[in-house]
């Protein structure tokens, strides 16, 4: 950015092509922003259209703010339950991912112990596998232990997806909190635990929350394992997938819109962390 400004000041003769270049850049950005937003907008138009408008021809590009499609969706048999299930599975996934990932991340950040690299490798390895496929053998195991078609069973599979992220995110989060702060607390009479609780935890809390939200979204959006593992206790994604052939258009579009709302809200909440999260998680 700075280089651009200085060269422009030094070479006024080149200012003209720069300006047209900037115009080109602005229009490219505008086109790409539209490419992302317009399809979402159109789904929202459908979701806020009346049941009749959704199947009408030709379609209006302006939403009519009619809630009948959404009401139809909300009252459709199985939807409220599926919505609740999605929330429960995602919530549980979030709790388990953080509960398992935070201690492991702390250990990786603070101690160099034999086996640390092996553990890190094992965590990274999970990333190179199509994890939802692991739901296949787990159906058999879950039937044996009574976890088939349960919220917990599915949350366990989703935790396999989300926990490796949580470990890596936590490791770098704790690494970014100076160890000296902890040591100072010890010299002032804190135990390791109380130093962690009073010094490290408050500093780490926003990052932990962001990692938790991340885990929530991973679970909320997951389709394959959810569809394979649940029958009666379907999540929203499993429900929508399995009713694709039979569901009327308003149900599909309202369902799609409901599916993206929490994800967008959460993403907005963690936008500050997004790049550090992904930068870390993909190193």
């Amino acid at each position: 950015m700075t280089s651009l400004a200085t060269t422009e000041a030094e070479a006024p003769a080149r200012a003209e092509p720069r300006r047209s270049g900037r115009l080109l850049m602005a229009s490219a950005v505008a086109v790409l922003v539209a490419w992302v937003l317009v399809p979402i907008y159109l789904l929202v138009v459908n979701a806020f259209g009346s049941v009749a408008a959704v199947s009408a021809w030709p379609k209006s590009l302006v939403p009519e703010f009619d809630l009948s499609s959404l009401a139809f969706f909300a009252n459709y048999a199985g939807v409220p339950r599926a919505l609740l299930n999605s929330f429960l599975v995602a919530g549980l996934t979030m709790v388990m991912s953080i509960g398992l990932g935070a201690p492991a991340g702390y250990a990786l950040a603070r101690f160099r112990f034999p086996g640390a690299n092996l553990f890190r490798l094992a965590v990274l390895m999970t990333r190179a596998f199509p994890l939802p496929l692991l739901a296949l053998p787990l159906t058999v195991l879950f039937i044996r232990v009574g976890l088939d078609d349960t919220i917990i069973g599915l949350a366990l599979v989703h935790t396999t997806l989300a926990m490796p992220f949580a470990v890596l995110i936590m490791a770098s989060l704790f690494l970014s909190i100076p160890e000296e702060l902890e040591e100072a607390a010890w010299t002032l009479g804190c135990s390791r635990l109380s130093a962690f609780r009073k010094v490290v935890l408050p500093l780490a809390l926003p990052g932990i929350a962001a990692a938790g939200i991340f885990a929530f979204v991973i679970s909320w959006n997951e389709v394959f394992a959810a569809a394979v593992l649940t029958i009666e206790n379907k999540t929203l994604t499993a429900f929508l997938l399995q009713s694709l052939d039979v569901s009327p258009l308003p149900l599909k579009f309202a369902g799609g819109a409901v599916l993206i709302v929490p994800a967008l809200l959460f993403l907005f909440a963690v936008r500050k962390y997004l790049f550090s999260l992904w930068g870390i998680a993909n190193r």
């Binding site: 850049m25 789904l43 201690p103 086996g115 094992a122 993909n282």
Partner: protein, 287 residues
């Protein structure tokens, strides 16, 4: 970090124990189980499930479609993400806002993305309505005709590019942030234009991020499932969809596991290929 009192050693193992046990129980064990399921019958080792899989007429198309989709989608995503990342890093105002918008699809599931594009492409959908409004067509066209495999393929490509370019973008933007500005500035001082700087400075220095993005996106591309289910139903078979229907509709876990092995194998093969193809050659030369 370098001190290692025995108490700390114990503490670190206590801390990683729950996560390790969890990974063992829900990653390694099921992984071994998939392999066992796929390769064993009532009389021990067998390739019968793979034969059943390969004899099904849908296997060939499913494999071809999955590989074909990955082959088309991933390069488009990498290119588009490079364009987006270059634009964003050069923006002087509104950088964060634009980045946020570009990354929105990151939070959208493949199922929702499929539904979003279904709203555009279905017979009474928005694309037809817009084309009709512009006087380009006389009535609703069936864009997702089940007999037109090429059109279904194209629809899935568009939806996948729309949905999953964001993850590549995030990896590349994070990677670009690690490249020292001085290199680019030095090249500019020596008279290199923006394109030359991009291809000779940015792109080579971005290699580790590109490698990560390629591996991650290719593996995810082989998992393509819900987008296809929404836009093409059963008319564009893909590996993950076949796995699902053998497992859920046909209730044959063995053949489903065989499909899983195929997906695992091609994922692993491509991971190894990208690790090799994009390895750090400078270090090799030094050694």
């Amino acid at each position: 970090m370098l001190r290692l009192a025995s108490g700390e050693k114990v503490l670190s193992y206590v801390l990683i124990l729950p996560a390790s046990l969890f990974l063992a129980a829900f990653f390694f064990v099921p992984f071994v189980q998939v392999v066992v399921e796929a390769f064993t019958g009532e009389e021990g080792f067998t390739l019968a499930h793979f034969r059943t899989m390969a004899d099904d007429w849908k296997f060939g198309p499913a494999l071809a479609n999955t590989l074909g989709l990955a082959l088309v989608v991933v390069p488009v995503q990498i290119t588009l993400a490079l364009v987006m990342a270059s634009l964003v890093t050069r923006l002087e105002r509104g950088r964060d806002m634009v980045l946020y918008v570009f990354t929105i699809p990151l939070g959208i599931s493949d199922l929702a993305a499929g539904l979003i594009w279904f709203a555009l492409l279905e017979q009474n959908g928005f694309l037809n309505s817009i084309l009709y409004g512009l006087g380009l067509i006389s009535g609703p066209q069936n864009l997702l005709d089940y007999r037109n495999t090429a059109a279904l393929f194209a629809a899935v490509v568009v939806a996948e590019v729309w949905r999953a370019t964001a993850i590549v973008l995030v990896i590349l933007v994070a990677g670009m942030g690690l490249i020292p500005k001085e290199y680019d500035e030095a090249a500019e001082v020596f008279g290199a234009g923006p394109l030359k700087r991009f291809f000779l400075i940015t792109l080579p220095l971005l290699r580790p991020s590109l490698q990560t993005a390629l591996i991650l996106r290719t593996i995810l591309a082989f998992e393509v499932f819900a987008v296809v289910a929404v836009l093409a139903g059963n008319n564009l078979p893909v590996l993950m969809g076949e796995t699902y229907s053998w497992q859920f509709d046909l209730q044959d876990h063995k053949v489903a596991s065989a499909y899983a092995i195929v997906i695992l194998a091609i994922s692993l093969a491509f991971t190894v290929f990208f690790l090799w193809a994009l390895r750090d050659r400078t270090r090799e030369a030094a050694a």
